[in-house]
């Protein structure tokens, strides 16, 4: 029943995403266009602009939500999220550096973003290991925010001084958005995201054990060091490819797993796919809102998720700090 509701929600979000947009098409025209009926312009708008955009938003949202859930289990903190842990910022910096060096192809930018994400998570961990080898997850989040802010400021500097034309357009991209969505971008995203998603799902049970702490998890059969390496790599790759195709979009990874934890509990075999569906639905809806709120102008979707996510973050922090 819960699953049917969630799938229905996802389908509704996708349908709304296809039906609305700056081009003034009635829902029935949009549906006709999707099915290949009606005039050529409508068919082009729906099939080549809206459909890849909506599907990409769905996959990115789902991937960010899964990434958030994984990070929360790994660092044992329900407030972890690729944005708050500095992964997105590092990925964005990697992407901007690659573009300003004119190395930015559709397939190479995700890899540059991956390097940035891995460097930033390593730095965040270094900062958070205070007093010997004990990891304080509160300090971890703090370091994540600081590293994210630092990465953003370097990105800002590069954008201000770079002569590469694409970099100056990157400002909007780094606030998150799907204006550059295309079937090609969708293909790149799907190709890069498929493996980490499968890898993560296969580690559902060890992820359950991680919530007990690293040592108890090990005694119950989880190979903790290997698990952390594999999952941080998978989470970094998902974040990197999401940032590469759609910029920095925060808070989906925080809010969605939290909602799913309330409804589905904390076992990852159900939590991960449920978070994927809800994350996809949420980001698709947020993108539809971003396109229509000030039509014909488009808001960066990262602005929309932050406007929704920050107040929720405040609520969650207060509950968690108790």
């Amino acid at each position: 029943m819960r699953w049917l509701g969630l799938i229905a929600l996802a389908l509704v979000a996708l349908a709304i995403g296809v039906a609305v947009g700056p081009a003034d098409l009635s829902p029935s025209t949009a549906w006709g266009g999707l099915l290949g009926r009606g005039d050529a312009t409508a068919i082009t708008i729906v099939r080549d602009l809206r459909l890849p955009r909506v599907v990409l938003a769905f996959l990115v949202g789902g991937s960010l939500a899964v990434t958030g859930a994984v990070l929360q289990a790994l660092v044992r903190n329900p407030l972890a999220d690729p944005y708050l842990l500095g992964l997105s910022g590092g990925a964005g910096l990697g992407a901007v550096v690659a573009i300003s060096l004119r190395l930015g192809g559709a397939w190479t930018v995700p890899l540059a973003a991956l390097v940035g994400a891995l460097l930033s998570i390593a730095l965040v961990y270094q900062l958070a290991v205070v007093s010997g080898s004990v990891l304080d997850t509160r300090v971890l989040l703090l370091s994540g925010v600081v590293v994210g802010a630092f990465a953003a400021s370097i990105m800002g500097a590069i954008m201000a001084i770079s002569t590469a034309p694409e970099v100056r357009n990157a400002l909007l991209w780094l606030l998150g958005g799907f204006d550059a969505a295309s079937w090609r971008a969708l293909g790149v995203f799907a190709a890069y995201a498929a493996i980490p998603l499968v890898v993560i799902y296969r580690q559902s049970r060890p992820l359950d054990l991680m919530s007990l702490g690293e040592e108890p998890a090990g005694f119950l059969g989880a190979d903790v060091e290997r698990l952390k390496r594999v999952l941080f790599l998978a989470a970094s790759l998902l974040t990197a490819v999401a940032v590469a195709v759609s910029g920095i979009i925060g808070f989906v990874g925080l809010v969605v797993p939290h909602a799913i934890r309330i409804l589905w509990g904390h076992l990852h075999r159900a939590l991960l796919p449920a978070a994927f569906l809800l994350g996809g639905a949420l980001l698709t809806a947020a993108d539809a809102l971003a396109r229509t709120a000030f039509a014909p102008l488009t808001l960066p979707v990262g602005v929309v998720t932050a406007l929704i996510g920050v107040p929720l973050f405040v609520v969650l922090v207060r509950r968690w700090a108790k």
Partner: protein, 267 residues
């Protein structure tokens, strides 16, 4: 007596970054099935480090640890989790969890990556809940349990692993007398009837003397005495290890010690 479960052959271990100080120094011992071994000693004497070496979590710098006939660190964690149930010192679930689910975690090492728990798994969980007398708690949230209940649940989880060895690291540290006694009773019964090896790291020397078949007395990383409680618990050993005068007494054949007050030994 029984099959040798753990064997340490002259093992030493030094934590990285601690020059010259060995946490465990030249320890040899063997632990057999059907036997409850107590590891006792003062704070920082290397009790927990020794246990971690036996469990393959740490690898000795010198010497070798064998668990179930193979180097302990050569087993995969998943394989070890099917043979050894451990109740470690610290554990706080980061997310809410119900008791039955927590005990089912003991079955994870028996399940495939995506397989669902089968009849055998659920049966093992129910048996463990009964054996540790926590069935009435099965639907409670773990965070609402008292310290003693939570420790019993953790032992139930270790039993659900259907292990051949059970290791408890200071499992009674924060418990009152009743819960502490219940835990010692439960552990020694499990070892006796299950014919598996039990290892108990504890501060409670007097209780260990009454429950354990064998004691390992640790002092600054060395095992300064290993043997039956009435062989190793002498005034000499205890005073040397704990750096405090004691007097010995006896309860039904088991050695018990009483730490002396200052005016009792200064006279």
């Amino acid at each position: 007596m029984g099959e040798v479960i753990f064997a340490a052959d002259r093992i030493s271990f030094r934590y990285p970054g601690t020059e010259g100080v060995s946490a465990v120094n030249d320890v040899s011992l063997s632990i057999e099935a059907g036997e409850l071994t107590g590891i006792v000693g003062p704070n920082g004497s290397g009790k927990t480090t020794l246990l971690r070496l036996l469990l393959g979590v740490l690898v000795p710098c010198k010497g070798e640890v064998t668990a179930f006939g193979r180097p302990a660190s050569g087993w995969k964690r998943r394989e070890l989790a099917r043979m050894i149930g451990v109740v470690s010192q610290r554990e706080e679930p980061a997310f809410p969890l119900r008791v039955r689910q927590a005990v089912l975690f003991g079955r994870y090492a028996h399940l495939g990556p995506l397989g669902s728990p089968g009849e055998a798994d659920n049966a093992a969980v129910e048996r463990a809940l009964d054996r540790c007398d926590v069935r009435h708690l099965a639907d409670r949230w773990v965070e609402t349990l008292s310290g003693g209940e939570w420790q019993r649940v953790r032992i139930a989880r270790a039993l659900a692993q259907e292990p051949r060895a059970l290791a408890l690291d200071e499992a009674t540290a924060n418990l009152d007398i009743r819960h502490e006694m219940e835990l010692f009773e439960l552990t020694s019964q499990l070892v006796n009837e299950g014919r598996f090896a039990g290892v108990l790291v504890t501060h409670q020397v007097n209780l260990a003397a009454r429950f354990a078949d064998r004691l390992v007395v640790m002092d600054q990383g060395t095992a300064c005495a290993i043997g039956r409680p009435n062989e190793v618990l002498t005034r000499d050993v205890l005073e040397r290890v704990f750096h405090w005068p004691v007097t010995m007494t006896e309860w039904r054949g088991w050695p018990q010690f009483i730490p002396l007050r200052k005016d009792e030994f200064e006279r």
